[in-house]
């Protein structure tokens, strides 16, 4: 029966989670410097409130939110602001960031509660507290949580879906969150239920994490309607639309959001973070991150201050092996490559992959032989073969008008299966960017 709890198509990449699946989360010693980009979330960048030379304590607001779809930034360590300027950003560009020289002898102990106790708060009070604590989704896109938790009044929400799939190979961030901090997940659920006024909650976990499922079952509060579903292990099971399809059987209409089918999806680590900010009284200043791959000497699951630089993180994990060849933020299927060890981790960084030479061997590319494997892999039923042909010819408008490019979520399944190694999802990403630019230019 459980086999029906999935979606159609998709791929089965090697899971490769064994490096860190059973490694307990440990805390990283504070680095000498943290760098906090003003744009770590979907939406408008935060506006800086500090000046060079200012002393800040851990948890201090250093950049305020700008509008509704935005999120504030807090100091993730006590120290002194040394610079506010351009700095390498995980997206490959340079973006404005606040650099803080960390106080070497600070105990990094927070002052009294910066986030109020949740018990006495109303729904709006909870929402405001989450908003000002800088809570965003920790699954990658870093969408501000308060926006997700305040759907328009004409869209009734029936169900909260906690996404514990973690379908990306290698990563174990959500896995460890669920296995080690299940109470936090349940507290986060309780708070979300209160805000949304929803009584039904489903936690979807891929079946390859039995310890996480057991921990969640064990700590489940008796008074809440929470069910934990073991889902088929398949990529991209953790994509919002695929997860909703697997659990509810509903298809989110093209161009619409989960809330259009009455569902709010929040990733497991993000749910835990909602609880964490209320528990500790500290805004979002740290997160769990998986550092893994055959190119790192000591694969680990770490609690790190947001803004920790890649180089410091690698050093804390025993350094790189001699054959380390490529570094990726996120999972191997959708993650972004990094060339600069000064790049900081942001709130949305789910993992750091250090791939060894043998994990990233280059392969020859061949012409498309129309095998159709990409059509059988695409979870949203696009025709990557035709899209790829059009992309190669630069016919982006046709891709959008006739072949639903807009529904492509760049999951990479087509590129994964392509026997000719055509970089399909890369071409589609480029096509999307080009179309956006053309539209902006036309407007």
């Amino acid at each position: 029966m459980f086999d029906r709890l999935t979606f159609r198509h998709g791929v089965h990449p090697p899971e490769l989670k064994q490096l860190t699946a059973d490694v307990r989360v440990r805390r990283l010693p504070y680095p000498k410097e943290v760098v906090l980009p003003l744009s770590q979330h979907t939406g408008k960048p935060a506006k800086p409130l500090v000046r060079v030379g200012d002393r800040v304590e851990r948890g201090d607001l250093i950049a305020e939110l700008d509008g509704w779809v935005s999120s504030p930034i807090h100091a993730s360590a006590s120290g002194t602001v040394t610079d506010i300027g351009l700095w390498p950003h995980p997206d490959g560009t340079f973006k404005t960031a606040i650099r803080i020289a960390v106080e070497p002898f600070s105990a990094q102990i927070p002052r009294p509660r910066l986030v109020p106790d949740w018990h006495g708060l109303s729904r709006d009070g909870l929402l405001e507290a989450i908003r000002h604590a800088g809570v965003v989704g920790l699954g990658g896109a870093a969408f501000p949580t308060h926006v997700k938790l305040k759907p328009p009044p004409d869209k009734p929400i029936e169900m909260i879906l906690v996404n514990g799939c973690e379908c990306e190979p290698y990563l174990t961030t959500d896995h460890r969150s669920m296995a080690e901090f299940p109470e936090r997940i349940h507290l986060g659920i309780r708070i979300m239920m209160k805000i949304l006024g929803v009584s039904k909650v489903v936690i979807g976990v891929e079946r390859n994490k039995p310890d996480a499922i057991a921990a969640l079952e064990r700590t489940k509060p008796a008074d809440l309607d929470v069910s934990i579903l073991a889902l088929t292990v398949k990529y991209p099971q953790g994509a919002e639309k695929m997860l909703i399809k697997a659990v509810t059987g509903r298809e989110v209409p093209s161009g619409k959001l989960p809330l259009d089918v009455g569902v709010v999806v929040q990733n497991a680590a993000s749910v835990a973070t909602i609880a964490e900010v209320f528990e500790t009284g500290l805004p979002l200043v740290e997160r769990i991150v998986t550092v893994t791959g055959l190119g790192i000497r000591k694969p680990s699951n770490l609690i790190v201050p947001v803004g920790t630089k890649l180089g410091d993180l690698i050093t804390a994990c025993g350094g790189m092996t001699d054959d380390a060849r490529e570094i990726v933020f996120g999972g191997p299927m959708m993650g972004a490559p990094q060339a600069n060890l000064e790049t900081p981790l942001t709130k949305g960084t789910t993992g750091v992959l250090v791939l060894a030479e043998r994990e990233c061997k280059t392969q020859d590319s061949y012409p498309c032989i129309r095998c159709g494997h990409c059509l059988d892999a695409c979870p949203v039923f696009l025709n990557p073969q035709q899209l790829g042909k059009l992309a190669g010819a630069g016919r982006y408008e046709e891709m959008e008008a006739d072949f639903h490019l807009i529904d492509c979520m760049l999951c990479g399944c087509c590129s994964y299966v392509c026997p000719s190694n055509i970089p399909l999802s890369q071409q589609f990403a480029a096509a999307k960017v080009a179309l956006r630019q053309r539209k902006t230019a036309a407007a």
Partner: protein, 334 residues
Amino acid sequence: MSDNRFLVTASPHLRSRDSTPAIMWSVVGSLVPIIAFAVYYFGPSALLVILASVVGAVGTEAAFGKRGAPRDGSAAITGLLLGLCLPAGIPLWMAILGGAFGIGFGKLLFGGLGQNIFNPALLGRAFLQAAFPVALTTWPAVKDVPWWSLRGDNFALPLMSAKVDAVTTATPLGLMKFERVATSVGDLAFGTTAGSLGETGAILILLCGGFLALRNYLNWRIPASILLTVAVFVGILHLIDGARYPTPLFMVLSGGLMLGAVYMATDMVTSPVTNRGAWIFGAGIGFLVVLIRLWGGLAEGVMYAILIMNALVPFINRATQPKVFGVPATGGKP
């Protein structure tokens, strides 16, 4: 600050182990038992003819294709498949010419791998059939000849008329069509009949194709659809007039249908990319095969049926675009 020792490539950073050459060489490998059977059954002539068409195909690819193109294995498949649908006694220069035509005009002229519309092996055969109709329909006898004897004048010089002194016979389809003699199903299934090199032995072909289908190197829907269509169409006719029309089993097992359905129609480049399209494509082939075999002037129709449907593949693809996730069935554009 940038460290040049790091690669910067786009995601996904994992790739499946499949590769285009791996697919092509697996197809070549899966043909080995069929070739071995042809050699066992038709003697050294079989090996010579198959080698000659491979030389023609691969040689042309090497001479006029992209540098290193023969390494992807696709030209080898063309050569092998062409060889398997030729009679054992054909002069070798014709086999070489057929392979060269198939690759040169059937593939390279369109732009090489992945660009061609028609199955190159079948195009090569169609050319030979048009140019040398007699040689292409001279079937050596299969019984009462020593294994090592050549089954025809394989070493005839180009454009000289071949010495026809080999014992010849008719194929089961020829017998059925022109002499109204039925061949036993057992002979057809196990390949002990006259015919082209690789079209005898329906069961062996099915097994070899099954291996490819299990590895997802062959879309099983295409042969399934072809065989089903032929069986149902002929079955209905047989029920109407059992004396005039053959049984479905005879139709399915005889001639080049099995080789065509399993190996020719499933050529990835020249068959539809969508699974719904594969069913339609197969049904079209099956329908045309029966039409040509029963009412056409030829005993066999698999080659033309596949070539005609090859031409329709772009239209089939366009008509069978998948229904996109979250788009209502009627609301989406093609």
